[in-house]
Symmetry: C2
Subunit: 184 residues, 2 copies
């Protein structure tokens, strides 16, 4: 399982710095220092490599969010506030390069392309995650608040990526808190 992780790590780094389409298989194997046949043994096609990358990134994100949230003992409203702060923090880490499934969806815009479809699934997952937290926090319309938070976070991720240092993540956090207070 070591080789697989090494390939995935190299691919992740290239996908996020140069883009997915711009990172050819030859570049990935050169950067990882492996043979092409090895890559194709672990990932029978580039599409499978891409979806594995997307799945991995989502899993890590939710893992990190969950473990950070449970460590705080707090009222339900405070959990929502903590969530906003964690998302801000996450966007501001130097390793952040935008929401992976967003980038993938833009790079593969055709609706029947497997990458686009998988990206849509991951987007729905995120919204469901946020709506669930809004529900347990007692929001009047959890689905509405969940989607508004999704929009804010995705927008902030985009703006911060395109204009680094513009403070978009912090402004989005403040906007999110305003919306939360208005809907509890």
């Amino acid at each position: 399982m070591k080789m697989r992780d090494k390939i995935l790590a190299t691919a992740t780094s290239l996908f996020e710095s140069r883009g997915i389409q711009a990172s050819g298989v030859d570049t990935i194997i050169a950067e990882a220092g492996i043979a092409k046949a090895t890559l194709y043994k672990h990932f029978p096609s580039k599409n499978l490599l891409i979806t594995s990358y997307l799945r991995e990134k989502s899993d890590r994100f939710y893992e990190w969010l969950n473990s950070s949230l449970v460590s705080k003992k707090a009222t339900s409203l405070e959990i929502l506030i903590s969530l906003c702060e964690l998302v801000e923090q996450w966007i501001m880490t130097p390793e952040f390069h935008g929401l992976p499934f967003h980038i993938a969806a833009v790079e593969f815009p055709e609706p029947d392309h497997p990458i686009n479809q998988y990206s849509a699934v991951l987007a729905v997952e995120l919204q469901g995650y946020l709506s669930k937290i809004a529900a347990t926090a007692g929001a009047k319309d959890p689905e509405a608040l969940g989607q508004q938070l999704t929009i804010l976070f995705e927008g902030a991720a985009l703006v911060e990526r395109l204009s680094p240092g513009s403070g978009a993540a912090s402004r989005a956090k403040n906007a999110a808190i305003t919306l939360i207070r208005a809907s509890i």
Copy 2:
């Protein structure tokens, strides 16, 4: 000037339906029914064709917004509300395929690529436009509100594109109005 417009219109349609990178020069000229030399006479490189497309789209958007806004005689707060409704309306038109400069920035992620740089300029332009309206409307912190609206609109554009029919534009409009009321 007719040929130039025809090329630009064909390129626009292909860029927005299939993506920019996925729309090769050969596809564009085939769709437009012209010779390759003709395209390269009007646009010496594909990059120039792309930037022309981005400029054109931005110009048309601001033209439409401005003319729609001045036709309404209203208080300053009402102008901000109208703005939100217009943006929602614009996102919901069937011709909408996401913010062009966003898509371009994602497709060309390297910071020194001319397309990425031009996209950043257009993103700043949008935020300045919204901040200016927030200022004339008397917002307490026009720059903050302008950026929050930018984040909401860009996020809504993304979500609506990835999950059509999810009502993201409408929810973003409501969120925007909440934020506006909170900052006036």
